[in-house]
Point group: C2
Chain length 382, copies 2
């Protein structure tokens, strides 16, 4: 049996601080071991949040306050990861079951203990765990450790707010450059706009874009999410064009949408103006203690009065994931209430197969003194 | 209760042909209803394979040979999707449970029937299904419909082979352009290489890249998958640089890796030469009926004789997914055997924190007469 060497000093204390919060929670809840896996097909940003490793690994946390990380790529993990013990996944035959079994032994978890795995675990894999690790009580539930991490991750800490602010500055600088190049005619196609973002964001110190940029010219803007995401079609030409992008800085991504409206008809101007008013209405409701469902419902009612319908949610939290908590969504299972430290989008939009689509999206930080709009996207009328 | 209108004529028969195969299988297996969902966090290319819709929808297939598609974005689905009945997801309150319940009624599925959902369904969601749709027997298993679809999807049909051939032609044209610009010094950084691919692939008629391009210059090539995927660092300079990319044509992505080796040391030349020999060895073993595990094991043994270790699988099938069946991997749970119609990568590589990394990856079609190497990536010595 492998034995663990004494832990190395951990370098980045932000990850240790987060793990301490989880250890406290495990202690309260009687969970002996937590397994956080990020792998192809089942990404889990909690791995990065707890260890700094951007992807591809399993982190084990024990209630005795020890951390063990099995990494697909040890070279990469040596640079990025913060954990007491770092081992190559090949030590566990590259199998999650083997890794969990060995980690339980290495971390001295007593038989009969409660082990928690992610609520995204597929049912057949859950059965494997239960069948193969019979000495333990395997928990896989929405309301457990992952809900706790969702709650913690929804309230950004100082380091996270700093990263998103930096990302927002880079985003704003790109929005200005995009406007300039659209006005000057240098950007003529969807690909021109999207590739400018790809090139410039790296010069601005970003890891890259947060998700695939959606650039949809007048022929394609009727779709909420254009497919393909961008093409060689005209962009910023007569009609409505949508540009939806985010920049990732230290793992955290912004998310903005600008609409470019050139030589609009009165019918197009009407949906633009309704979208702007919906945005202002939503922003005016942002305050500590407000239900996010209420905000989204107010916007839905506002659109309904003009016989319009928004076919998506009003917004969502941002952070390590493209979409995270809180949802800003009018659905009866949404119980989220705004609190200081939350960062989220507001993104009303209207879409019509003939007129085209428009959306206005910015990132909002709710501070102790109220909302702060971090990004400067707007509807650009030409 | 909603009633279904008479079906529209379906336009693209390739999707109908695939559904017919699944209907036959459902009939044999006694499955009354199949639900295929693609959504954020749980992508399932089977949706596109069966309906043409690239993403974001639930497709229901009944054993009575009817198809009903609930699409997140009806505008987009009207263009891309092929199904008898197309409805907006908002008709089902945008909830999978509601959609399944309604679809069972609309498609007249008798109570007590067997309904199958994806084996990627998380355990808590599976419990929801069982608790809320009690009239039916809900199956969620690896060895069911999804295994059947994996088997079918691993053997590409003519339309799929044509698309991958087109993608391979575009890939080869880009490989030539990349070599030219690396030799001329026009490509100086990782971002130069990656952004050239983003820009050119759209001119070549591709939907985009198949996955995020990995461009790692000599300082970063030691990692299997560089992080961030590409930066403003030097590329193609003294040492080993890796460029791993794929082009997506009609949904199907190629996957190639070229290594650029400039002014190499004898130790670097040694791992390059071993990688090339491993590639040749693997290719020489490709034939109808060969076990893919055998091929991967032979390469592992070949490297071991030189005291080298490849920290990843030898290859994988390509298609609608970045990685699909068959795996070319030396693991005892790999039972796959090569058959005509399979298209897969061979991608031996070696990585060293000091020397850097190298990988050589091409896409192979196994035809009736033997293997055909579709792409032209190689190790480029400068």
């Amino acid at each position: 049996m492998k034995t663990l060497r004494p832990p190395k000093t951990t370098r980045r204390s932000v990850f240790r601080d987060r793990r301490e919060k989880i250890y406290d929670w495990m202690s309260r809840e009687g969970i002996a071991l937590l397994a956080v896996e990020d792998t192809e097909g089942r990404r889990d940003p909690s791995l990065r949040w707890l260890s700094g490793l951007p992807s591809d690994g399993i982190l084990f946390l024990s209630v005795e306050r020890h951390s063990l990380l099995a990494a697909w790529d040890l070279n990469l993990a040596s640079i990025h990861a913060d954990a007491e013990h770092l081992l190559p996944y090949s030590d566990f035959k590259r199998r999650p079951m083997e890794a969990l079994r060995s980690a339980a032994v290495m971390l001295k978890i007593p038989p009969g203990s409660r082990l928690e795995i992610s609520p995204s675990t597929p049912y057949p894999l859950f059965l494997d765990y239960v069948g193969n690790i019979g000495d333990f009580d395997i928990l896989c539930r929405r309301e457990g450790a992952w809900q706790e991490m969702e709650q913690l991750r929804a309230l950004k800490d100082e380091g996270e707010i700093t990263l998103i602010r930096k990302g927002a500055e880079a985003t704003n600088s790109l929005l200005r450059l995009l406007e300039k190049q659209i006005r000057s005619g240098k950007i003529k196609t969807e690909a021109d706009a999207a590739l400018l973002i790809e090139a410039e964001c790296r010069k601005l110190g970003c890891e890259g874009t947060g998700f695939e940029t959606l650039a949809a010219g007048p022929e394609r803007s009727f779709a909420i999410h254009s497919f393909p995401p961008y093409t060689a079609s005209p962009f910023g030409s007569r009609g409505l064009s949508i540009l939806d992008f985010g920049l990732r800085m230290g793992g955290y991504s912004t998310d903005v949408t600008m609409t470019i409206a050139r030589d609009c008809s009165p019918a197009q101007e009407k949906i633009l103006s309704l979208t702007e008013k919906a945005y202002d209405l939503a922003l005016s409701m942002v305050k500590n203690g407000e239900s996010t469902r209420n905000i989204a419902a107010a916007v839905d009612r506002f659109f309904a009065r003009s016989k319009q319908f928004m076919p998506h949610a009003l917004g969502h939290g941002i952070g390590l994931e493209e979409h995270e908590q809180p949802p800003i969504r009018n659905r009866d299972d949404n119980q989220w209430v705004l609190a200081p430290g939350m960062i989220f989008t507001l993104e009303p939009g209207l879409y019509d197969p003939v007129l085209g689509g428009c959306r206005l999206e910015n990132d909002i930080l709710l501070g102790e003194k109220g909302p702060e709009v971090l990004t400067e996207a707007r509807i650009l009328r030409l």
